[in-house]
């Protein structure tokens, strides 16, 4: 053991020394690069001057002709399109699953100025889909991590990092400096804020979203005409005038997401952005394509379905003549996006006596054997896929969707007590539901929210036998199980 410990200590010391040396080398390289930069700039200037000397024959650098040649020989782009790309300023709101692939292709295509705004830092659970971020950059600001990768890909564009979440106060000032906005965010409140600001500042908007195996893509406010001008493209509010109920909104963290699904949507955003930027100027009032929404579904055929959307809504709160939202109402927060979309913060549904901590549960029911498991029931209400990843010994899986979707018949009056008798729902195993038993029932989920809803439902059904039988949940769910009881529990 002693020699093994020594070996470990020696290896650790070597790693620290090597890392320090690596950091030193990186510093030296950065300094050397900085020193070299004026030279490169000077060389470029000379090159430009040479070209200018030949009567401005070559508007791009030699390297740029080679770099962008394969896309410039596509007739829809050409040299004209390439120059438009180079002078374009594009803002991506969100540097995650959509923003990464979108930024990658826009940088590759030679968009001149690329801004990224995101206040999040890179987490390990992002890496399977947020393809600009590297494992070594976990903990770094996403925008810095993304720009690091983008510079390696293409050093020509100007990259601008906004290390903050988009706020109503700042949105107009941030958007002002860009020509085109990409909505790569993950929540309805920000989506409305982005669309409203883009419309009021006359910027076209490429919006996408994704969840599980599906994605949606729509180009909004294109062409970007003034509010009240019916020839402008519809905005997010024209298509979705009212936000969905807050509790129906599912995030990628809760619902899951396949990397290539959100990647596809981000790549399509870059494509639409290139199409908008390189489109030939049209004086005609009618847009070239009718507004449409593209719906991607990984497990359907065809993979993409395109639907025709309405044009601008005559009473839209932002882009119509009857608009009530202005830059001032946004900045002053009198347009309150969080209130508009509703809060998802679930109030605690249960009283403290109806909840126990993971530690307490473990103490009450230690080392579950097949024998003692008879004495209580633990119901895990996560869906089947999550239960399949990890589950507590002897827990039974009844997904909350089964519980909430079941039909319940009206309770019958109990003959003796005059109180409603328990309704035994079909999802509950009969041995658990038995009215003979007063063994406790515990409900657990991932974080301790769904479990409360289920406990409440079970009590409404009378399964607690009017207080004779304990039904409660594990506070904080399986996350607190890891914190308080079993550190080896996998967190996904």
């Amino acid at each position: 053991m002693g020699s093994l410990d020594e070996t470990c200590a020696s290896l650790r010391a070597q790693i620290i020394a090597t890392e320090a040396r690596l950091a030193g080398l990186k510093r030296d390289l950065a300094n050397a690069e900085q020193a070299a930069q004026p030279e490169t700039a000077a060389t470029a200037e000379i090159q430009h001057k040479d070209q200018n000397g030949e009567g401005k024959r070559w508007p791009l650098l030699q390297e740029e002709y080679k770099r962008y040649g394969r896309q410039m020989i596509v007739s829809q782009v050409g040299l004209k399109g390439q120059l438009k790309l180079r002078s374009a300023r594009v803002l991506l709101v969100g540097a995650g699953g959509l923003g990464c692939p979108a930024a990658q292709y826009l940088a590759g295509a030679g968009v001149g100025t690329i801004g990224l705004i995101d206040g999040d830092t890179v987490e390990v659970s992002n890496l399977h889909r947020q393809v600009l971020h590297r494992t070594k950059n976990v903990g770094k600001y996403k925008v810095d991590s993304a720009i690091e990768s983008l510079k390696e890909l293409n050093p020509h564009p100007t990259y601008i990092a906004h290390r903050t979440h988009l706020t109503p106060e700042e949105a107009p000032a941030v958007f002002q400096d860009y020509d085109l906005i990409l909505d790569c965010t993950d929540n309805p409140a920000t989506r409305y804020l982005i669309s409203d600001t883009a419309v009021l500042l006359g910027k076209p908007l490429v919006s996408a979203s994704a969840l599980r195996t599906e994605g949606q893509l729509v180009v909004l406010n294109n062409p970007p005409r003034a509010p009240g001008d019916k020839t402008g493209g519809p905005c997010y509010r024209c298509v979705f005038p009212k936000p969905p109920p807050a509790d129906s909104v599912v995030s990628c963290a809760d619902g899951g997401i396949l990397g290539p699904v959100v990647g596809t949507m981000g790549v399509l955003q870059a494509l639409e952005a290139i199409k908008v930027i390189t489109a030939p100027e049209i004086d005609r009032p009618c847009p070239q394509d009718p507004p449409s929404l593209h719906i991607f579904s990984a497990y359907s055929s065809p993979l993409v379905r395109t639907i025709r959307l309405r044009s601008r809504r005559a009473n839209c709160a932002v882009c119509s003549a009857e608009a009530t939202v202005t830059l001032d109402t946004i900045k002053s927060r009198s347009m309150d996006y969080v209130f508009f979309c509703g809060s998802t913060n679930l109030p605690s549904l249960l009283g403290p006596e109806e909840r126990i901590s993971a530690r307490e549960y473990n103490e009450r029911h230690p080392n579950v054997t097949s024998d003692s498991s008879q004495l209580h029931t633990i119901i895990d209400v996560r869906d089947e896929a999550q239960f399949g990843i990890c589950s507590l010994e002897n827990s039974i899986n009844i997904p909350i969707s089964n519980i909430l979707s079941s039909s319940y018949t009206a309770g019958l009056q109990g003959a003796d007590t005059g109180q409603p008798a328990a309704q035994v729902p079909s999802w509950l195993p009969s041995e658990v539901a038995s009215s003979e038993s007063t063994n406790p029932i515990y409900v657990v989920c991932r974080l301790g929210n769904d479990s409360q809803i289920v406990v409440k439902k079970m009590k409404e059904l009378g399964l607690d036998q009017h207080g004779k039988r304990f039904i409660g949940d594990i506070r904080g769910g399986l996350r607190s199980w890891k914190e308080q009881v079993d550190p080896s529990w996998p967190e996904y």
Partner: protein
């Protein structure tokens, strides 16, 4: 008629696609429209009891019982966040709930996504 629940299949017994046969003429002689279809779906195809996930009245969450629903059918809107598509077009282009269903129509209900 061919239906695709487009992500809302959880409300419909986990089946994405449904074929529905409706009478060409209703008892009062009118043709079945989207209103009729919505009621038909809730009555016959929806496995989930959470009707409010599918239909909302104005902006207020209502637990629509079927009777209330059929009595106040003109007030009932689809829930915000669900697009109704008639033959690959937003139903607003086709007259919304008054659109009269034709042989072979393709009706899709799509819930909006917000992740990214």
């Amino acid at each position: 008629m061919y239906l695709d629940s487009g992500g809302l299949e959880l409300l419909f017994g986990n089946e994405r696609k449904h074929k529905v046969v409706l009478p060409a003429r209703l008892e009062d002689g009118s043709r079945p429209n989207i209103s009729y279809l919505l009621k038909y779906l809730v009555d016959n195809l929806m496995k989930d009891q959470r009707i409010d996930m599918f239909i909302m009245e104005d902006n207020v969450y209502v637990n629509v019982t079927l009777r209330v629903y059929s009595n106040s059918i003109n007030d009932v809107d689809r829930r915000p966040g669900i697009l109704v598509l008639i033959n690959d077009a937003d139903w607003e282009l086709e007259g919304e709930e008054t659109y009269e269903l034709q042989q072979g129509d393709n009706i899709v209900f799509v819930s909006t996504l917000h992740g990214g």
